[in-house]
């Protein structure tokens, strides 16, 4: 039993080490950002830098601890849920990331409805829906009614564009 755990542990070391190094890097990044905080001209018992130093130092310590754990075989291999999980699905993940990117790129120039519609269709495709035209229609209706609800009903502005102006008139 012990030997098998050690065996599977070794194969999990690489990814676990990467995660541990990420935490360490985050701590170091925070340490650098803390060092550039300008010293306060206002007198205070505790300056603006102390707590950031404590937190980033804490994160560096935890990161180092995680690195040590990862080098001793990691932890992923000992967690049943992770061990039995299906492998990475690059198509689904790729489409989902494309959906996020599409929204990011489209929302400022084209407004909420078009960006959200593109996002909706791509996410649905990521999870295996092949009814492209139907999703497009659903997406458009959902996005436009959400826009109507939030902007006209609740007064929360979520980004107007061409479509919104056509349907609801010029924004404000």
């Amino acid at each position: 039993m012990n030997r098998r755990q050690a065996g599977t542990g070794r194969s999990g070391t690489g990814p676990d080490l990467a995660a541990a190094l990420f935490v360490l890097a985050l701590g170091l990044l925070a340490l650098w950002q803390t060092a550039v905080i300008p010293a306060s001209p206002i007198y205070a018992q505790v300056g603006p830098q102390l707590v950031p130093y404590l937190v980033s130092g804490f994160l560096v310590l935890i990161g180092a601890g995680l690195v040590a754990t990862a080098l001793r075989g990691g932890w992923s291999a000992n967690i049943e849920e992770l061990r039995d999980a299906p492998p990475i699905n690059p198509r689904a993940l790729g489409l989902l990331l494309a959906a996020l990117l599409a929204n990011l790129v489209l929302i400022e120039p084209f407004g909420f409805t078009i960006a959200a519609t593109a996002q909706f269709v791509l996410v649905a495709a990521a999870f295996g829906s092949r009814a492209l035209l139907r999703n497009l229609v659903i997406a458009f209706i959902v996005s436009l009614s959400a826009y109507g609800l939030f902007v006209k009903g609740l007064g929360v502005n979520i980004g107007a564009g061409m479509v919104e102006s056509l349907v609801f008139g010029a924004p404000f």
Binding site: P15, S40, P48, V51, L66, W75, L100, F112, F150
Partner: protein
């Protein structure tokens, strides 16, 4: 103000037509969103937050109470019918509940969890009303040094004690603390950890982080692990519980509620422990003729007990949240940030400065609880139909609404980048088993802890020993150290003994 006077005052405010309307709307929306697979109470509240922007403070908090309890109810429906628990507290409910559903007993399983939630919610809310004022009296005696140590204890219990590993829990906490530090330092006006980006001067929004962690990260992780195939939703069937179901459920409800509430009140704030304890307790106490149902056809005791424990714990979490201003669960952290967005700081002073608001809130919890049991039993068919939304369109819709919630706050593309960036980090956190709740709690409690520490240091004129010489502060510090190091020392001691 005592509990009875408070409740009279509270019900007087809550029982107006418009406030009842807010409660009903909250219950309905909370259940409808909470029932969606993978959406727990924290995300439900975060997603519905924009709705409260145009509502007055009292109305908004009544709405929240409904959403909070509604999301809890909705979550248990999903775990029973779909076997996909939306949050850690309903994992145990899914254990026996899904088995009952598989054997055509979904109706009674849903009914026992609804009535169990009602009983637990009532016990829990009574607990808030009667224990709250007592805690407030003691809390008013605490100085900043004690407050700081209380928060340190909170940090340790939510990140290091619960969950799989102290190291990974603390890493999540550290990430949350960092996010909380971003922005202008309120005391000195210096920008901190902003990387020179002007949009970050105002800090990172808590709701944005919660949505990133619970919606974007979760959806990304689901895509990572996506396997094509249909999802099975169990039919509800007849909802009626038989006489034997009632008899078998009654004591588990009571024991579950009694077990869950104290766990919620303690700063550990987890619902995992009480639900698990309740499950093992019911399994031990079950009548021999029903013992075989556990783990096979599904035992009703195993749904009734943990579900009551889960709801009572969730209500218990509101005690430290309202009386001390300490959120000990992700859900409470989101609620706290909602309070703050109205310029209201929960804590002992709230009970004395705004008793109307506090007691209306508590009264609304009672009302929401009654509404839900009335609403949920007949409407369970509707909730089951929501579950039939196919996953592709469901996740697509969740992401669209996640975007609205974020972009609506600020109209800033930087915030969207943060949303997706933190979402990607959350996906890796799921992959490497880092808990996400400590991020939210660290983020909202971190700045409060820093403020308390600085106040304590200002009062003591820079003398660090203040944290060790004040007795309550020292005791809290020792408790935190025990919680952090105790388990390790215990294992080491046992290893030496063996």
């Amino acid at each position: 103000m005592g509990a009875i006077d408070g409740l009279i005052l509270g019900f007087g405010h809550a029982l107006t037509l418009s406030n009842l309307g807010w409660a009903l709307l909250g219950c309905f929306l909370g259940t409808a969103i909470g029932v969606l697979p993978g959406i727990g109470p924290a995300l439900t509240i975060a997603l519905l937050l924009p709705i409260t922007f145009s509502v007055s403070a009292t109305g908004a908090f009544i709405l929240f109470c409904g959403i909070f309890y509604g999301a809890m109810y909705g979550g248990s429906t999903t775990s029973i019918l779909l076997n996909t628990p939306g949050e850690s507290g309903s994992i145990i409910t899914a254990l026996e509940g899904a088995k009952m559903a598989k054997n055509g007993r979904a109706g009674p399983a849903l009914a026992t969890s609804a009535i169990g939630s009602f009983i637990a919610g009532t016990v829990g809310t009574l607990g808030i009303a009667f224990i709250g004022p007592i805690v407030v009296e003691y809390a008013l005696m605490l100085g900043p040094a004690e407050y700081f140590m209380l928060m340190v204890l909170c940090f340790v219990t939510v990140s290091a004690v619960l969950g799989g590993s102290a190291l990974r829990g603390l890493a999540s906490l550290g990430f949350g603390l960092l996010l909380g530090l971003v922005g202008v330092d309120l005391q000195t006006g210096q920008p901190r950890l902003t990387f020179g980006v002007p949009e970050l001067l105002d800090g990172v929004n808590v709701v944005l982080v919660a949505v990133a962690l619970f919606a974007v990260g979760e959806t990304l992780y689901l895509a990572w692990r996506h396997v094509e195939g249909p999802v099975e939703v169990r039919d509800v069937g007849r909802i009626m519980m038989t006489r034997s179901d009632w008899k078998r459920s009654f004591w588990p409800w009571v024991r579950g509620a009694g077990l869950g509430f104290p766990f919620g009140v303690m700063p550990a704030g987890g619902s995992e422990m009480p639900t698990m304890l309740s499950y093992f307790l019911e399994r031990k106490l079950v009548k021999p003729e029903h013992a075989a149902e556990f783990g096979t056809t599904g035992a009703i005791e195993g749904v009734a007990g943990p579900e009551a424990a889960n709801n009572a714990a969730a209500a218990g979490v509101l005690v430290p949240m309202l009386t001390l201003g300490l959120p000990t669960s992700a859900t409470a952290a989101i609620m706290l940030s909602a309070f703050q967005s109205y310029g209201i700081q929960p804590g002992p002073l709230l009970f004395t400065s705004q008793p109307d608001l506090v007691w209306t809130l508590i009264a609304s919890l009672f009302i929401a609880n009654v509404m839900l049991v009335v609403l949920n039993l007949p409407l369970v068919g509707l909730w089951a139909r929501i579950l039939k939304i196919p996953p592709p369109q469901l996740y697509a819709g969740i992401l669209v609404f996640a975007t609205i919630g974020t972009y609506g706050i600020s109209n800033s593309i930087i915030d969207l980048m943060l949303l997706y960036g933190i979402g990607i980090i959350a996906m890796f956190m799921r992959r490497f088993d880092f808990p996400v709740a400590p991020v939210v709690i660290g983020m909202i409690l971190g700045p409060m802890a820093e403020q308390a520490m600085r106040q304590a240091m200002t009062i003591s004129q820079g003398d660090w020993t203040v944290f060790f010489t004040r007795p309550v502060s020292l005791i809290l510090l020792l408790l935190a150290l025990t919680a952090l190091l105790g388990p390790h020392l215990y294992t080491a001691w046992r290893r030496r003994g063996a």
